[in-house]
Symmetry: C4
Subunit: 262 residues, 4 copies
C-alpha cells in the first residue's frame, strides 16, 4: 500500500454530497482557470501569442480536462445550465441543483484568483496598473464577457439562449446512452463542441455558462476593476450571461428529446 | 422511470419513415446552423474572430455533431449526394432518397433562420441593413456559396464533382465494415474529412452538399437578399453546387468500390 | 445481396499482388491529391484561405484518409522509404518493394493531374498561364518541393535524412504491437506525426517521401513547367528528396529498434 | 522469425534499470527534438511557416509521440518534475528518480544537437553566424526559455509553479485508474494538456519541465551562445525553470489527490 493509498484512507470523504460539491468546485475551477488564462494570453500578448483559434481550443481543452477530472464523481456539470436541465428531467434533486450552482460559481471565482496571480506582471505591463472595464486597454474581458458595441439587449438574449441551447443539444446527444459513444471519449467530444461554439457563436457573447461568467465577474469586482463590471451598458448586460444560459440549456435539452429522443 | 422516459413513451414515433425524416431534418439543420454561423462569424468579424482554419474546423465539427446525433436513427446522410449514392447501391429506396433530400434542404432552410436571428445585429452593423449578394459588404456568402471571379463554368463543375467524389470516397472508406473503424469513431473521422476538404478544395466553391447550399440559398432569397442569390453570374452558378455534388457523390462512391472494394 | 456485393463478386481480384499494387497506387494518389490541393489552395489564395497550419493539417489528414483506406489490404506504405525499411527487416520481399515504389510514384503522378484540373482556372488567374518554377509567381512548389535559398546541399541531405528518420521512428513506434495502440487508431496517430513534421521540420524541404515528391515532379515536367523542375539549382536538388528519404527511413526504423525495440 | 526478432534477441537488455534509463533518454530526446525544431521553424521563418498555435501543437504532438514511445517501458516521465512527484508518492525509488532526471537532461542535450544540425543553414541565414541570447536576432530562445521583459522574479516563480502544477494535476487525472481512460488514449490526452498549457500559460515562461529547459540550455552554452544563456538577467532566470517545475509538480500532484483522489 503506497503513500497515496494511506492518504486516501485517512482523508476519505464518506458523504457523497460533500464529495460531489468539492468535485464541482474544483473542476469548474480547472475549467475557468484554463479558460481565463487562455483569454489573458490572447489579450495581454496583443495577439502575438494567441489568435482566435487558440482561444477556442484553449477553452475547449480546458473543458476536456475538467470533464475528465470529475465525470466519475459528480458527473462534471460545471455549468448551472447543465445542472438545471438535469433537474427538469428529474435526474438531479432541486437542492443539489442549487448547491452545485453555488459551488460552480465559487470555483469560477477562486480560479480567477490564480489567473490574476499568474498574469499579475503582464497585467501591469499592459494597463499600467489601472484595471479597466472599457476602452483600448480594458482587461475585464479576460475574466468575464462583455458584448460587442452593436449588440442590442434582444440580440444578447437570443445569442445566449441559442448558444446554450446548441451546447445542451450536443451534450444530451453525446451522453445519450443509445448513441453508444464510449464514456471515455465523451469528455473529448464535449470539448470539441465548445471549440465549435467558440468558432461559430463566440463573436457576440461567448458565455453560455453562468458559473464561467458570474464567478470571474465577481472576482473582477473585488480585485480592482470596480462596479463597472456590473454597471456596464447601464446594467443591461451582466444578467444576460447569468440567466439566459439557464433558459437556453433547458430549451436545448428538451429540443433534443423532442427531435431525436423519441 | 424519470421524466424523460415518460416523455418518450408518450410521444414515441412508431413509424420508422417519419422518425428518419424528422432526424434527417433536424441533423441537417444542426450541420447547417453550425456551419453558417461559423461563416457568419468569419465574415462579420472581418477576420478578427475567425481565420480560414476556423471556418474549416467549424464546418467539420458541426458535421461531427450532426452525424453523431442521427447515425443510429437514419444513418445521418445529411446530404442528397450521400442519399443518392446509397440508392445507386441498392441500400436506400428511391422514395426515401427523394424524401430525405427534401427534408435535408428544408433543414438547411430552417437552420439559416436561426443563424440569421443570432447574427441579426451583427449583420446590420456590417452592411447597414442592405443585404447584398455581391460587392465589398456582401453577406450572402455566409449562407450559400458564391464562386471566385476567375472560376469558369467548366471549372466550377470540375470543382464540385471532384470535391464531392473525394468526400464520398472517404465516406465509403470510413463506413466500410472491412476497415473495422469502430462506429463511435466514424463521425469524428468523417468530420476530419470535411476539415480536410475545406483546407484542400475550399477555395473554388466549397459546397459539396446540395442541402447545405440550396437550403440556405432559398432562405437568403426570402430574407431580403433578393433574386441575386440565384441570378448571380447570369444564372451560371446556382445549379452547379445544386446538381454537381450528386454526380460527384455517385462517381466517388463507385470509384472507391472499384479500387478498394474489390 | 445488394448491388455492391454483386459488383464485388464480378470484379474480385484474386491475385494478392495485383490487389496490393492497385491499393498502393490508389491510396498514394489519395494522399498526394489531398496534399497537393492543400498546397495549391495555400499558394493560389495568397494565404487568404490557407496558413501554414492549414498546410500541415491538410497533408496530415490526407495521410489519415489514405492510410485508413488501404491498411487492411496492402498495409498502406504510401512511401518507398517505408517499403524499403520493411524490406530491410525482412517483412517485404525485394520484388514487392520495387513494384510498390513504382506504383506509389505513379499514383503521385496521376493525383497531380486531378489537382491540376481542380485548380486549372486558379493557376491561370495566378500566373497568367505561364507555369514557372522560380520567382514571385512560381507554382511548381504546389506539386513538389523546392528548397529555401539558404539551404546547402549538405543541409538538404541532413534535412531529408533526419526528417524521414523521425517519421519512421514514430511509424515503427505506432505500429509496434507491444505498444498496444489499437489498429483503428494507428492511421490517426500517423497523421498527427505528419502534422508534427510539417510544424517542426517543414521549413527546409518537407518531402520525406519519394513518391510524394518524384511523382508530382514528373507531372510538372510534362504539364508545362519544363526542365526547370529537375534542373533547379544546377541539378543539385531534385535527387535529394528522391533518395535521401530512403536512407533516413531505414536509419530511423533501426534507431527505433536499437533504443526501444530491445 | 524475422530479422527484427533476431536483432532483438541478440541485443536484448535484461537489466530493467538500464532499459528504463535508455528509454527515458531516448524519449526525452524525441520530445525535445520535436519541440525545439518547432520553435526553430517558428523563429527562423519569422512567422511565415509557424504561428503560435503551431508552436503549441508542435510541442503537444512531440510529447504525444514521446509518451507513446516509452510508456510501456519506463512510463515515459520525460520530466524530472514527474519523476519527483512519483517519488513523493512512493511509486519510484529515490535512486531511480535521480538517475531518470540525469538521463532526461542528457536526452534534452543530445536532441538539441540534432535540431542544431537540421537548422544549421537556417540559423546562419538568420543571424549571420553570430549566436545571440538577447536582441532582435536572438536564437537562444529556440532551445531554452527566456522570460518576457516585464516578468519579475516572483512572477517567474509563480508562473513555473502554477504552470507545472496544472500540468501535473491533469497528468494525475489522466493516469488515475478510476477515471478509466484506456491506456492507449492517455498519451494523446496528455499531449492535449501540453497544447492547452502552451495556449493558456505559454506567454510568461513555458518551460514546466526541467529536462526540456536545462538540457538545451547546456547545449547552447557549449555550441556558441556563451555564458549569456545562464547569466541572462543577472543570473535571475535560469534556475527558475530548472527548480520551480519540481515544486509545482509535487504541489499539483498532491492537490489532485486532495480534491479528487479522496
Amino acid at each position: 500500500m503506497d503513500v497515496v493509498e494511506k492518504f486516501r484512507l485517512k482523508f476519505r470523504i464518506s458523504n457523497d454530497l460533500y464529495r460531489c460539491l468539492l468535485c464541482e468546485f474544483f473542476c469548474t475551477g480547472l475549467l475557468v482557470f484554463g479558460g481565463t488564462t487562455t483569454s489573458a494570453q490572447y489579450v495581454l500578448s496583443k495577439g502575438t501569442q494567441g489568435s482566435w483559434i487558440n482561444v477556442n481550443l484553449g477553452w475547449g481543452f480546458a473543458l476536456v480536462m475538467a470533464v475528465y477530472a470529475g465525470y466519475n464523481i459528480s458527473g462534471s456539470h460545471l455549468n448551472p445550465a447543465v445542472s438545471l436541465f438535469l433537474w427538469t428531467m428529474g435526474r438531479l434533486s432541486g437542492v443539489r441543483c442549487i448547491l452545485y450552482s453555488i459551488v460552480q460559481i465559487l470555483g469560477g471565482f477562486c480560479a480567477s484568483f490564480f489567473t490574476w496571480v499568474l498574469y499579475y506582471d503582464a497585467l501591469n505591463a499592459y494597463d499600467g496598473g489601472t484595471r479597466m472595464v472599457e476602452g483600448e486597454l480594458a482587461t475585464a474581458g479576460i475574466f468575464s464577457t462583455y458584448p460587442k458595441a452593436f449588440l442590442s439587449v434582444g440580440g444578447g438574449i437570443a445569442d445566449q439562449v441559442i448558444g446554450t441551447a446548441y451546447l445542451c443539444i450536443c451534450v444530451c446527444m453525446v451522453t445519450d446512452k443509445r448513441n453508444k459513444i464510449p464514456q471515455h471519449l465523451q469528455p473529448l467530444i464535449i470539448g470539441f463542441i465548445v471549440v465549435q461554439i467558440g468558432i461559430c457563436a463566440g463573436m457576440n457573447g461567448y458565455a453560455i455558462n453562468t458559473a464561467r461568467d458570474l464567478g470571474p465577474r465577481l472576482f473582477t469586482l473585488c480585485a480592482g476593476w470596480g462596479w463597472g463590471t456590473f454597471s456596464y451598458n447601464n446594467y443591461k448586460w451582466f444578467w444576460i450571461p447569468t440567466f439566459c444560459p439557464l433558459v437556453g440549456g433547458v430549451l436545448g435539452a428538451w429540443i433534443y428529446q423532442f427531435f431525436l429522443g423519441i
